[in-house]
């Protein structure tokens, strides 16, 4: 089946995914707005007005809040995409063992649904920014590009992990642990400059920072993202994608038997 034929299926799965998350609750999908709303409010208002945290060298009260949110929102999208894609074959075993569906659909719909949540969250964030008197630059137009590369990377990574997790169930927990570490190893809560000298090269080889740094550059420093790093990320993604295709070809039969 071509991608075009699968589009209705992907759309339906993603829609259901968003709906199911809060199914049974009376506010329903409204929760997917309430959560980011609260988070952004806390970061922006509490950090700025109550704790008075600021970025080094900045006089704007909201500078740290903006920096933090610029990193946390895409990171959350990235981490959720990868961790959820890594368990999607197990979560959807009742479908995979009953209906013939292209296995690639499953991580793909997670990418779609997490991207939708990201879009909603960013929209809310921008409203907050607007209210605080933030001046937008045309640089924000690069955000969708960075996000696209990031999610492609997340798709490839999540799919590969997803195949492994079917055979080694412990990996599911391991992925969560690794993501905890990865979050704190990436300059999201702190700025890269405060890292001790020996740790700085770590950010260079951290694929997470290749894209997170881009958002921070655009939103906090109103500067061009590091296109070199992004191009490299794209290259890594292409390589991972090849691995994923090859790997899927090798393991699909076993995977279906195992589920």
């Amino acid at each position: 089946m071509s991608l075009k034929q699968q589009l209705p299926l992907l759309w339906e799965l993603a829609k259901r995914d968003l709906w199911e998350r809060y199914s049974g609750s009376s506010l329903g999908a409204l929760w997917s707005i309430i959560y980011p709303l609260v988070a952004i409010f806390i970061y922006l208002v509490i950090f700025a007005n109550i704790m008075g945290a600021k970025l080094p060298g900045s006089s704007n009260v909201y500078s740290y809040g903006i920096y933090l949110i610029a990193g946390v929102i895409p990171w959350t999208a990235f981490a959720s995409t990868v961790t959820r894609a890594s368990t999607v074959y197990l979560d959807k075993k009742n479908i995979i063992s009953k209906i013939p569906v292209d296995l690639n659909c499953f991580p793909l719909y997670i990418v779609m649904s997490e991207s939708m949540i990201f879009a909603i969250t960013v929209a809310i964030f921008f409203v907050f920014l607007f209210v605080t008197g933030y001046t937008f630059t045309p640089l924000v137009l690069f955000i969708p590009l960075i996000f696209a590369i990031q999610q492609l990377f997340a798709y490839a990574l999540g799919s590969i992990l997803g195949i492994f997790v079917v055979f080694v169930r412990d990996l599911k927990e391991a992925v969560n642990v690794i993501f905890q570490f990865w979050f704190w190893l990436t300059p999201i809560v702190y700025v890269a400059e405060i890292l001790p000298e020996f740790a700085k090269p770590l950010t260079e080889i951290n694929p997470g920072y290749w894209f997170i740094g881009g958002y921070q550059q655009i939103l906090s420093y109103q500067a061009m993202p590091n296109f070199g790093a992004l191009a490299f990320l794209l290259l890594v993604t292409v390589a991972l994608m090849f691995c994923k295709i090859k790997f899927m070809r090798m393991m699909e039969r076993d995977l279906r038997d195992c589920i």
Partner: protein
């Protein structure tokens, strides 16, 4: 059309899932294999129905899963034209939290329908399933029969070219099963290919054009449904035989109409002769409906039979059993038969059957098991279709349809 060629499937059984990884890394086999299917080939053309029978664990479900694309075969090719849907087990990928209607959309999308197509067919599907207000309730509140109704309704309306039916159909109530059967027939007439898995031999005989029987993942016999189901029933009888090892199944080819029959035979027992006789002892090949006839059978035995029982069954041209009974079921005490002797049995019956071609089959066994409805300790022989008889129209009788004349009487009462 469905065409499969040399399909084999082995399941690897590992002690733990991690062994699978160990095997891949160490390149040392850590599993034992279980052959679920070996070298299966068949073809189902447009408008044809193939029946698949076999015991539990014979590989029927694995075969259906491979056909539908849920599992991939190790070797061999599977060719399916158009869309293949079906009713495989219950709750085919339904989400228990969603309502029936939402599941129609979800399931329909999985079966490759677009939103518009589902929107257009939604009412037909709901109408077919006849779930009433339950369609707006979450699936988790459904009974298994209701799930099956919904599953079938979606699958058949998804515009398939090939349709798979398995035992799940038997969950439905009699009314809905009939409705499904009519729909399947309709689908067949419009040129669809059907694979029908069932334990109901009569349904297989009536619905299918061809049948295969699977045992331990292999096709052990394939052909006309009647031949295959006979073989299957013999196989079951042989298995039930407590004194096993003596009986074997013999397949004979009938050159005249190129059909095969499979009989259960015992070396010591022989059916010497069978005749159909009129009241006055003439041998006949046809009779008039509602006549009385006698089936005379002569067996020779080399062994002593302590408590032999004799039976017969009459089948119509579809192979459907119209009547069957035996001396044990008729509560008749039989006398012992000494070794190296012959025994002649006469069954006298009245045949109020609708005109047509019928066949007579015979069975002989030893020692009935108390409390059962005709199970025996030893089955000594089943001889399928040993005699044919044409039943002709009785001009003195009423006109009727169906299987036999129930000889109705009628009374009127008119109240003003």
């Amino acid at each position: 059309m469905i065409r499969i060629q040399g399909v084999s499937k082995k399941f690897k059984i590992y002690a733990t899932p991690a062994d699978r990884l160990k095997e891949k890394i160490l390149r040392r086999p850590c599993h034992h294999e279980y052959a679920a299917l070996s070298d299966i080939s068949f073809e189902v053309g447009p408008g044809e129905t193939l029946g698949i029978i076999g015991e539990n664990g014979a590989g029927k479900s694995t075969l259906l899963k491979i056909l539908s694309g849920i599992l991939l075969p190790d070797t061999g090719s599977v060719e399916v034209t158009g869309k293949i849907t079906g009713l495989l087990e219950l709750g085919t990928g339904f989400n228990p939290e969603l309502t029936g209607l939402q599941n129609i959309f979800m399931n329909g999308t999985f079966l490759g329908m677009t939103h518009e197509e589902i929107e257009a067919k939604k009412d037909t599907i709901i109408g077919f399933a006849e779930l009433g207000d339950f369609i707006n309730e979450p699936i988790k509140t459904y009974s298994s029969g209701m799930l099956m109704r919904l599953g079938f309704a979606i699958a058949i309306h998804a515009d398939p070219e090939c349709f798979l039916v398995d035992e799940a159909l038997s969950v439905g109530d009699a009314y809905f099963q009939q409705k499904c059967m009519r729909k399947i027939q309709e689908f067949k007439e419009s040129g669809g290919s059907i694979i029908f898995v069932s334990h109901d031999m009569n349904a297989v005989k009536v619905l299918c054009d061809n049948a295969i029987m699977l045992e331990k993942g292999e096709i052990i016999i394939g052909g006309y449904p009647k031949e295959v189901t006979d073989y299957y029933l013999n196989y079951i009888v042989k298995k039930m035989n407590q004194d096993d090892g003596v009986c074997k199944t013999r397949i004979t080819q009938n050159q005249r109409n190129k059909t095969t029959t499979s009989d259960l035979i015992h070396d010591a027992i022989k059916l010497v002769d069978i005749q159909i006789l009129t009241d006055d002892g003439r041998e006949i090949g046809h009779c008039i409906s509602e006549d009385t006839i006698t089936i005379k059978q002569i067996y020779s035995t080399k062994i002593y039979l302590e408590e032999p029982h004799f039976g017969f069954f009459i089948r119509n041209r579809f192979g459907q059993v119209i009547f069957e009974s035996n001396t044990y079921c008729m509560s008749i005490k039989t006398m012992p038969v000494p070794a190296n002797s012959t025994v002649t049995v006469f069954f006298t019956i009245m045949v109020p059957l609708i005109p047509g071609e019928y066949s007579i089959s015979l069975g002989i066994s030893n020692k009935g098991i108390k409390g059962t409805r005709g199970d025996f300790k030893e089955y000594l022989g089943i001889f399928n279709d040993v005699k044919n008889i044409s039943i002709l129209k009785n001009d003195n009788s009423i006109q009727y349809g169906g299987i036999f004349n129930m000889n109705p009487t009628v009374n009127f009462m008119v109240n003003e």
